[in-house]
Symmetry: C2
Subunit: 336 residues, 2 copies
DNA sequence: AAACATCATGGGAAGGTTCCCACGAGGCAT
DNA sequence: ATGCCTCGTGGGAACCTTCCCATGATGTTT
């Protein structure tokens, strides 16, 4: 069943059928009706492969992320999908698992399937591979900053740290102890750098803050918090991610301390599990869904040949829950 | 850059280039080497669109699920992706949001992009729409049972309830109170039916169990548990899903009761958040990733024209954590 | 009334690959 | 030496659409 069959059925030429189906102009209402009737009756569906081959556009974009089963990335994917859906574009999703070899393979698969563009969270350091594939690209995630020449969308860690620290200031508990993750991850240094910068403005030099390292897991957070407690409980803790914050919370309660009355806690990420802890974790949420949405929009602007694609840093938001004391007369907690 | 260019560059015909690139036989080593060299040098990538158009196979399959941001479905997607990846097949993923209209639209998009097959969690009741799209289909999720004539993969709720109830029996705490979700969801009646069947075998008639309904959320679970507590705390509670179980846990602790010493709790689902509650939730885990994996394998067997595709029910597994008392000499807790 | 736009339509080429068939060369059995 | 089978190879058709250009009809301007 092809448009030629539809043409025969409706008594017009295949060109006219094509015009009707693609919504192009210059078709009489009569012809349009006849074609639509034939399509309806026969159940015909245009073959997008042939369409793409000829037109050079597939209406598909690739999404290459570390792991769709990770809630942050799943949410990014959802944002991209929502935006794509509104423009009738389909998403081809791949997982790199932080493995350069898999990334390379999937990038190649993306070029071969002729996606119009791709959104990727880069794993490897070499830029060459990205540029060789001549697809329009938008980078996402923290590692994107290693490629300043490519457009990207990420979360504004500095701003997130800033609103977090502001909130701690507002709570009036003094300087927080810091709980940070593996040294390998770029996320760690970004967080620390942001705390240094923002802290100085607040009159809290980084050197004077207690800082504990740990594995980027619940268990790692618990262990790090235990070390912190042993050396004397801090009044308030700022964790670089929610997983560790959740572990810290367990350690705090295991030590018989009340949160937030005795030890207050602030997380960073906004993962779903932080909603259901007891007490529920107050945290700085990353705009994961918005990252996906904006990445798509950037891409689409690029594909349709609009203005130069920039580097976007989206604001984090404070998710007020129960591990920081309430503020009766909240001082302004900025978003910028 | 096409295979014709490669043919010219390497001094063979386009047919030979095609044979080399598609891994078909009957090519001399010499020709193969020349072609590969030319490909390497030019950076040529075969156009999969043209390939698909001619061959009739796209190497893509569709995945239509309610919501990729939901951890269960994300995990299903991951399983399908892993299996697909091993066979160099790409996944086109769509979210239906439990909306029949969106489902219809995406199903149509899938047919138009000529995916080789599709895995779908059906929303609507009408079967017609599924059969009209003449793609090989595998259904997943609990609603699949409404379409007995189509192959499907799901979790074995009866078996899951069975191992859960067995575990409660083993704990020696007597008959559990039940916490179940919205009446609308098929999940609810399946759970209740399974408890009735298994309970009878254990000598626990459903009629004698306390049963509390609630919204399918943390808040709903908390409220339902509060009602239960008000009428006198049950010794052990079996919740039909983890979200409600987590809410119930909060209610238990808010009432000043210890879990599992005073009120023990068993969940159902295996969501990530259940790992980090305090105490960590003991629950019956659904084989989400395996569902995705098996769904793909079934599909692939179907596409390659192998034996008739069956209806698969995959076993749930008990995830032993902290909300049920430990068993020192565990009696056999079956998996079947 | 003539010249010119504008519009609806149709036919052919093109997009890049795979499939089918034909061909010649070489190996083996007759 | 002849016939036959296998193997490697090449050329043309086919897959289904969109794009480009030509055609004729209708409407508008001078």
């Amino acid at each position: 069943m092809t448009i030629i069959d539809i043409a025969r059925l409706s008594g017009v030429s295949k060109s006219t059928v094509s015009r009707v189906l693609s919504g192009a102009g210059n078709v009489s209402q009569e012809a349009r009706d006849k074609v639509m009737a034939a399509v309806q009756e026969s159940g015909f569906r245009r073959n997008d492969l042939a369409r793409s081959l000829r037109s050079g556009r597939t209406g598909m974009i690739g999404l290459l992320i570390p792991d769709i089963a990770n809630p942050f990335w799943a949410d990014v994917a959802r944002g991209a999908q929502d935006a794509a859906d509104a423009e009738d574009i389909s998403l081809l999703i791949f997982n790199s698992d932080w493995d350069p070899e898999r990334e390379r393979r999937h990038l190649q698969a993306l070029t071969q399937s002729r996606v119009d563009a791709a959104i990727v969270n880069p794993v490897r350091d070499g830029l060459d591979d990205f540029l060789r594939f001549q697809i329009p690209l938008v980078l996402i995630g923290s590692s994107a900053e290693r490629f300043p020449q490519l457009p990207s969308v990420g979360s504004d860690i500095s701003q997130g740290v800033s609103i977090g620290l502001d909130r701690i200031v507002a709570a009036g508990l003094g300087m927080p102890a810091l709980l940070v993750g593996d040294a390998e991850r770029t996320a760690r240094e970004r967080f620390v750098a942001a705390v240094r910068a923002v802290g100085e403005a607040e009159g809290w030099p980084l050197d004077e803050m207690r800082l504990e390292d740990g594995q980027y897991t619940v268990e790692g957070g618990r262990a790090a918090m235990e070390r912190l407690l042993k050396a004397g409980p801090p009044r308030v803790v700022f964790a670089a991610n929610d997983l560790m914050a959740l572990g810290a919370l367990q350690a705090i309660r295991a030590a018989g301390l009340r949160c937030p009355e005795e030890v207050a806690l602030l997380g960073f990420d906004g993962i779903p599990a932080a909603e259901v802890s007891t007490p529920a974790l107050t945290t700085v949420g990353k705009p994961s869904r918005e990252i996906g949405r904006q990445a798509f929009k950037l891409l689409n602007r690029k594909v349709t040949g609009q203005a130069e694609a920039p580097r976007l840093s989206l604001p984090c938001t404070l998710i007020e829950r129960e591990t920081l004391p309430r503020i009766d007369h909240p001082r302004a907690v900025g978003t910028g």
